[in-house]
Amino acid sequence: MKSIKKILALTVAAALSVSCFAGCGKKAKGDTIVIGSSGPLTGDNAQYGVAVKNAAELAVKKVNDDGGINGIKLSLVFEDDEADPGDKAVNAYNALKDNGMQVMMGTVTTGSCLAVIEKTKQDGIFQMTPSASAQDVIKNDNCFQVCFTDPNQGKGSADYIADNNIAKKIAVIYDSSDAYSSGIYNMFKKEAEAKGLDIVAEQSFTKDSKTDFSAQINAAKSAGAELMFLPIYYQQASLILTQSKSLGFSPKFFGCDGLDGLLNIKNFDTSLAEGVMLLTPFAADAQDQETQDFVKAYKDAYGEIPNQFAADTYDGIMVLAELMKKEKITNEMEASEICEKLKKAITDPDFSYNGLTGSNMKWSEDGAVSKDPKAVIIKDGAYSAL
């Protein structure tokens, strides 16, 4: 038995040392510009990573079909980071580096993004994240966001509710174990107080107790809330809507971009979502040509309606492609050289981009995007502008 183990150990050690040698040395530059991306393809958050991967593939294909970057094709490498905020994210990043990544389009989740921002800074790689929305993500000068920063959404929501006099007594249910949700909530609370809104119930849940909301809904009901603010993702929101109804509680509901997708949940009674308001940069059933083309292409390729993660990614790649064309980026350039050029180009005050998630998108040096959130209300099972 022991000998078997020894032999096994030796074989594995040998195999590993071979594979380590295989990864040695610097990879020669290929004939494409390599965009690296990482996100969760397995585990609890896989749906977000998969959406980003799909949209990135779609966008890269579109860029290449339209002639690439001045004739040079893009290629995409995607690694799974399981949304892990530690070693898995760094491993995925290192794997991307070993694959010759020149520009990074990632990561998908805030946690893993925070784990790699210092690495991209050190290695001088231009980083653009489609969906990691915490403010800390963009604190280095080489990192930019396509999505809104969480505090912006919280502030925007509170302003919208106060300015339009939608309600005075507000209840909040948020996910205290999630950076996105608590990020929005923290800013919402601050702004709501400043604007004279009355938060009558602050309720939270965690990743481990995200199915039963009866206690939270009861608290909101007893406090007499007129509006329930839900800075959370749509799966939990659908449960809150269902359970509110069965508990006989029907306030107004207001949410952020995480609620996008509510109408596409299989088996969800969308009549419950009637009257739900949300601030979202992307609505899959918007009538403009670009959105419709994107939704159709995405649906044909992957059989699903794209969410805002996919839309943000698609915009991100398109922005990168446009900047690359402008700066005449080639596959021969070092990552740090590309980074310097893109950094200058994206913060150029003359640069703006009209995409799926907003028109006239601009980036400041702090890395945040400026675009207008659209407030929509769900009416007859579809979004309509507010």
Binding site: K5, F21, T42, D80, P85, N94, K97, G111, E202
Partner: protein, 366 residues
């Protein structure tokens, strides 16, 4: 009875031999990787994995002390690691200006991480260790999850007025504008100095192994094993069951805490969501695959199971399923009467074959 005594005497010597082989293995592996990486021969992936490999090996050894030596199943190892990681990271951030020399600060941070984890281990252990078997497993699992959730909901900062702690939200913290935020709820801690190096990781692994082997060989260790093998007999010779169980529990928590410190100082950010049930199960898989009670096996299993999925990134969706199968199959093979007998018979044959081969080789050499 006489025979057993003999066997015990005989066993001691191989244990020392075993431990030295393990030390040598770690040293050689360290030297090889050090030479390779200084020559720039290894990929960034493998370089990035060196410290985590030490972390997981240390964790596997610590859990093996609970499972293999104490004979109880703890499913909260990730929780202790979480405590160590957080407390040491907070310590390093607080003292990064007063103690500028990382060679002094980091060992202190590691020890503090370990001590806090051990304190949690004792706090949890006092009620829990009165339970055993299935109850203990459930409760440790629960505690691991609770530690994770509480850390994820904690906002801690300090300013001129002192330390502020809130379990609700950032704004409830009432931090002054010039205050420093330490724990930012689910976003955890960022900006921990990256003090962990492969050298420190390897030293810690060596120390852990030395502690583990010496513990097993010590009077306390043998008392613990006698409790594992027969509680009533141990009680009847006057051993204080709770005390010995608590010592083991605190020791394993301490080691897991130091591993947490090594982990948190290897990355720029640290979030509580890392330390979930899946991590505890992963450590258990290392222990089970390496052989329950086999310290060296734990290290080898940890190294193999951390490296393999990274090398074969394509199969990652099947990885967890494979872990589950490892748990079931290993247990059935090693604990089923029939398969045990089968293995024993075949090992004898195999050994005989191997010996014959050796002697033949030796003869040829002559």
């Amino acid at each position: 009875m006489k025979n057993e005594n003999k066997a015990a005497k005989k066993k001691l010597a191989p244990l020392t031999k075993k431990s030295f082989i393990t030390y040598a293995m770690v040293l050689i592996a360290f030297a090889v990787m050090q030479i390779l990486s200084s020559g720039g021969y290894i990929s960034s992936m493998l370089t990035g994995l060196l410290v985590p490999l030490c972390v997981y090996s240390i964790l596997a050894v610590s859990l093996n002390l609970t499972v293999g030596i104490l004979g109880e199943l703890s499913l909260g190892q990730a929780g202790f690691m979480c405590v160590g990681a957080y407390t040491s990271a907070v310590f390093s951030q607080l003292t990064s200006e007063t103690i500028t020399q990382p060679l002094i600060r980091f060992p202190l941070a590691i020890i503090i991480g370990g001590i806090f984890a051990a304190i949690f281990g004792i706090l949890i252990g006092i009620p829990v260790l009165r339970l055993n078997g299935d109850y203990l497993a459930i409760v440790t699992l629960a505690f691991g999850e609770i530690i994770k959730n509480v850390f994820a909901a904690m906002y801690v900062g300090y300013d001129s007025k002192g330390v502020h702690i809130s379990l609700k939200s950032l704004s409830n913290l009432n931090l002054e504008n010039d205050g420093t935020l330490l724990l930012n709820g689910p976003q955890g801690i960022s900006g921990t100095p990256n003090d962990s190096t492969f050298l420190i990781g390897a030293i810690m692994l060596m120390l852990t192994l030395i502690i583990a082997y010496n513990f097993i060989n010590s009077r306390t260790g043998r008392a613990v094993m006698s409790i594992r093998d027969n509680v009533i007999a141990a009680q009847s010779v006057g051993l204080n069951i709770t005390k010995y169980k608590l010592i083991t529990f605190a020791l394993t928590a301490f080691i897991a805490g130091t591993a947490g410190a090594l982990y948190s100082h290897n990355f720029y950010t640290l979030q509580a969501s890392k330390f979930d049930y899946n991590l505890s199960i992963l450590i258990l898989v290392f222990v089970v695959l390496g052989g329950i009670g086999n310290i060296r096996g734990s290290v080898i299993a940890a190294v193999v199971l951390v490296l393999l999925p990274e090398m074969l990134r394509g199969i990652s969706s099947y990885r967890m399923l494979i872990y589950a199968v490892i748990l079931i199959v290993m247990m059935i093979i090693t604990s089923n009467e029939k398969s045990k007998a089968f293995i024993e018979a075949n090992t004898q044959k195999f050994k005989a074959l191997f010996k014959r081969g050796k002697t033949a080789e030796a003869k040829e050499a002559e």
